[in-house]
Symmetry: C2
Subunit: 624 residues, 2 copies
């Protein structure tokens, strides 16, 4: 049985020390919105001055998106037995459309609470849940469609801009993107956030019971987001480990975290996670429902599933993966596949459909599910239960039949003003990825796409963060809003902390490469800052600007451990004699000597010169 370590039980409970260290030369800042309680966290990286040959200048500090929550703020006292500060409570209360319940609505939630044997595992600071008042709809989509800009929306607008106004003049130093029909504004306004949510092109996963949440948005016209999966299984892992994985995942950049637990004490584990999570938490409720019927898919029914939804809703889960597109009719379409059905949720529902020879109860009860979703503002993540588990099965009839149904369900969800995103594959060779994106956009009315990878080859177990990172970068560029990470352990085992970090950094790379390719305004600022630091041999800045300062420093120091090497105008690759950066400097000096000072003159002067030389030079061989 899982257990939580002793320190959880003491008042000094604390999280993994590694996860809460401030980043080097960085500090947490909060950008204040239109009201003092809209405090949007960001990380500011201080850069050193340029002292490069004759040039001396200050370098503007860099602002980067920060998912790590209060953990990296040394001013905040973390107490995981208490949970994080409830920054959204007042916003929700002000809307006056919810009510606090006198107890938990779900049968199962009540049972667990009554079980005193669970007391030692239980989160100590349990709160009573909130729900929409009868007849009210408390989704961000509902507000958006009424023209209301919520504090959550304003928070997000500030967050997505990353103080772009400070770097405005750097925008010209970015390549125009190729966005495949996205509508990226030059600056994200609260009104833009509202309009995107209203039309369903973006979602704000934000359960009214997850008051600790720092709001974020998932949509193709915003920064590409990434999700990290955690969760115990029947085989391994306990509550403390899962919390550590969550804090570790958000430290490195997970925008949302899915708790995919299938082992013991799922309910209690989830409570600990949500109360301590500043990022949206997603789950796959069918996993827990299955546990409740002893793992026998055929014994599942709507009542048990519905009770599970409410149980999780009242804990504060922000989005539910629901495999309502796995219809009875589609199941036989998978019989011919090389790898059948590989989604757990999909296979559970397929088995249920076969056993009863009935249409999926998720599909037939979909409107009832919508009623639950809108009473807590839980977003749908419509699961791709028939996604391909191998290249061979990519883009087949089963997969696309389900996608069409997900499109149909999206329309129903939207009828209820329930926020919705769509899950996508899986295993897909590069040249078939775009078809997935295009079909999803067409079928699902531009509801955000949320894909797992896709893996672009099956032959590299142990490296599937990379096989899938390639696909993730591509599909992100094409328009996917959130990328579900894959760790090196995929297909082999459960990821540990090292794997979680490796998966996250890989996906931060994929997401950022996608932002750059789409031409997200300001996306290139960090790249340019890194490149300038490189050119000027500001080693410390290079480490600090990167996604993983620890590894960058460690790798550098393996070859050149001395402190003096951190200011040296060369590196271990070439040594002092061969430094190409140094030679480039000579080129600049030369240009300066020739009196070509400003960049227009430079470009013009160069072009003339080049043309002249080209004509002369070309002769050498054209006459020969």
């Amino acid at each position: 049985m899982s257990a939580i370590p002793e320190e959880f039980l003491s008042a000094q409970a604390h999280v993994d020390e590694q996860a809460i260290q401030p980043f080097p030369n960085s500090h947490k800042i909060y950008v204040i919105g239109s009201r003092p309680d809209i405090q949007v966290p960001m990380r500011e990286i201080k850069l050193s001055d340029t002292q490069h040959y004759n040039r001396q200048e200050k370098n503007l500090s860099l602002t980067v998106y920060d998912t790590s929550g209060p953990y990296t703020d040394p001013e905040v006292q973390i107490n995981i037995r208490k949970g994080l500060p409830e920054i959204r409570r007042i916003w929700i209360e002000e809307r006056a459309d919810t009510e606090q319940l006198s107890g938990f609505s779900s049968e199962y939630g009540r049972q667990r609470l009554a079980d005193t044997q669970l007391d030692r595992l239980r989160f100590p600071n349990l709160r009573l849940p909130h729900q929409a008042q009868r007849g009210r709809n408390v989704t961000q989509m509902h507000y958006a469609r009424q023209g209301v800009i919520t504090p959550e929306m304003e928070f997000i607008a500030i967050r997505e801009n990353q103080r772009l106004e400070q770097y405005r003049d750097q925008l010209t130093q970015q390549h125009p993107g190729q966005s495949f029909g996205a509508s990226l504004p030059l600056q994200i306004t609260p009104e833009f956030v509202r309009s995107e949510v209203a039309r369903g092109r973006a979602i704000i996963p934000a359960n009214i019971n997850h008051t600790e949440l720092e709001p974020m948005i998932i949509g193709r016209n915003f920064l590409v987001k990434i999700n990290a999966n955690i969760g115990n299984s029947a085989i391994t892992s306990n509550i403390a480990e899962e919390i550590d994985k969550m804090t570790w995942a958000i430290r490195w950049g997970a925008d949302t975290v899915m708790d995919l637990s299938t082992g013991k004490n799922i309910h209690e584990t989830r409570e600990w996670i949500i109360r301590n999570s500043p990022v949206p938490i997603g789950t796959v409720p069918i996993y827990q429902a299955l546990e409740k019927v002893g793992g026998k898919a055929e014994e599942l029914n709507w009542e048990i599933f519905c009770d599970t939804l409410i149980e999780q809703a009242e804990q504060g889960v922000d989005y539910f993966t629901i495999h309502a597109g796995v219809r009875l009719a589609y199941v036989p379409l998978t019989a011919n596949r090389l790898t059948g059905i590989v989604s757990r949720g999909g296979s559970i529902m397929a088995k249920w459909c076969l056993a009863h020879h009935k249409e999926s109860f998720l599909y037939t009860h979909f409107e009832e599910i919508c009623e639950i979703m809108k009473a807590y503002d839980i977003s749908f993540s419509l699961g791709d239960g028939l996604r391909p588990g191998s290249l061979a099965d990519a883009n087949d009839a089963a997969q696309f039949a389900e996608l069409e149904t997900l499109g149909e369900l999206t329309q129903i969800a939207w009828k209820h003003d329930v926020q919705t995103m769509i899950e996508g594959p899986g295993h897909v060779p590069m040249h078939l990825i775009k078809e997935n994106m295009d079909k999803q956009l067409a079928c699902c009315g531009e509801a955000p796409f949320y894909t797992l990878g896709p893996l672009t080859t099956d032959i590299a177990p142990g490296y599937d963060h990379i096989t899938s990172g390639i696909g993730a970068a591509l599909i992100g560029w094409y328009g996917t809003a959130m990328l579900c990470y894959v760790t090196p352990k995929e297909h082999l085992g459960l990821p540990n902390k090292k794997d979680v970090k490796e998966g996250i950094i890989t996906y931060k790379i994929a997401a950022h490469a996608a932002d750059l390719a789409k031409g997200y305004p300001g996306a290139q600022i960090r790249d340019n800052a890194m490149s300038k630091a490189r050119f000027e041999f500001r080693w410390e800045d290079q480490f600090n600007i990167g996604l993983d300062p620890d590894r960058a420093r460690e790798y550098h120091d393996e070859t050149l451990p001395k402190e003096s090497a951190k200011t040296a105008h060369f590196c271990s690759m070439c040594g002092p004699q061969f430094c190409s950066m140094k030679i480039s400097q000579d080129v600049r000096e030369y240009a300066r000597e020739k009196g070509i000072e400003n960049s227009t003159a430079l470009t013009q002067g160069m072009a003339e010169k080049a043309e002249e030389f080209r004509q002369q030079g070309a002769k050498i061989y054209h006459e020969a």
Copy 2:
């Protein structure tokens, strides 16, 4: 000073034990060509039988491309003091167009040989060099244009097919590719190899002095290849380490190896490497030339450079990176850049041009270089000395001006029947990658493109194998013939063995993802074999089929170490209860019960059923 360890001096000299272990459940096979001395090495992976529910069947063993040379053949006695077997000697002699020289032609080569202090570092089995007979041209391109199919070409045809004839019926289980104008035949014939080399669309780097070489080909209509860089620097590394890196690199799949040494004893190190390398060796001769003038670029001249070319030619270097496109006129075009000139070769030549204010001697002497190339059959790798070193500098005037010049030089090389490939960037965001490929194809008459990455973002030092693996997969798909690997140490330090392996596996993934996307015939066989093994829980086969069996096994065993878990019909991700693969099996059983036995009936039956259900199901909501 560098040193080689004592064991090199003994008769029992041996290479790194790790590099010569046979792969698990694999053995080396040789496919014999039209003559008994054409013996093409491949690796055969034996697979276990299917025993999955009611199904029992044999699984055909898998044949994979094998770059590891005799090192993984337990029948071959490796003696690095002697060098590898000279499999090409007889082919070269039969052509009767070369002659053995009585000594080394280069001044520097003779000096080094005369220096007895170097005896202890020297490769002990030195041979006298060969050269084309006066007036003869010994390039594979020359033969190809005369209509001659060389043993090298036949060797390559067999090699590229990977016994495809045994798997012919599996070709229908592969997605048609999207090849952007490539001309991939269903089967590679020796005549196809010849025709591709004749028209310059592929090269066979094969110096007549590298008789140990197992021939391979670089061209967009063949499997995408990868290169690994090794080489000492002024800072670190010695001869033994470099040989270990080479054997390690080819074990994991490096198709060619570049020796980029810039430290001590470059000449002697290179001799050891070539004599023991079954893959083509490339170099950047300007690095050594610069060493000869004490690191002062301005003191370089044509004579020293020419002597260096001949020195290396007579050792057997298969391709030279020559930065002849860095013309004086283009240098000022870089002054405005964020990161200037980052290519070492490029910056050396830029400095020379500036210092003398003269056109590059590589450019002005290009035809003389061609004369040397064709006397030994060395291939050009026309260097991109002005490649961007940051996203900001991607696709700029300097880069593309040079590319145009490389196209001009390609025509000159081809006039001499000298094989030529073109080097490419660098740092390029995803959406600007295709322009590089398209421009290269247009400027350089489809000469093979050989790119470094490109890196798709600058913000992840420590993970540049991944930032660049994404770009490499893309540009490989678009038509690049060879991908130069990037290791996790890029921008930070010199790669060790671990980094070399990580870089190579990442690039094998990128190259294979590209082959799949292009639709290279048979590319999907290995993926399908993996997927089938996955579905049938043949764990050992999954490990063995993968690019890195050691890591796959290690990762699996971290969670489920027991031997019994290797035959278990579940894994640590879900545990026995939740296994989706098991549920998929139920779907198959169900289909069988319903009497849908063969795949046509299955597809048809399913489609009807799906349509029927879809119509019924759709009603649920459309009426609502």
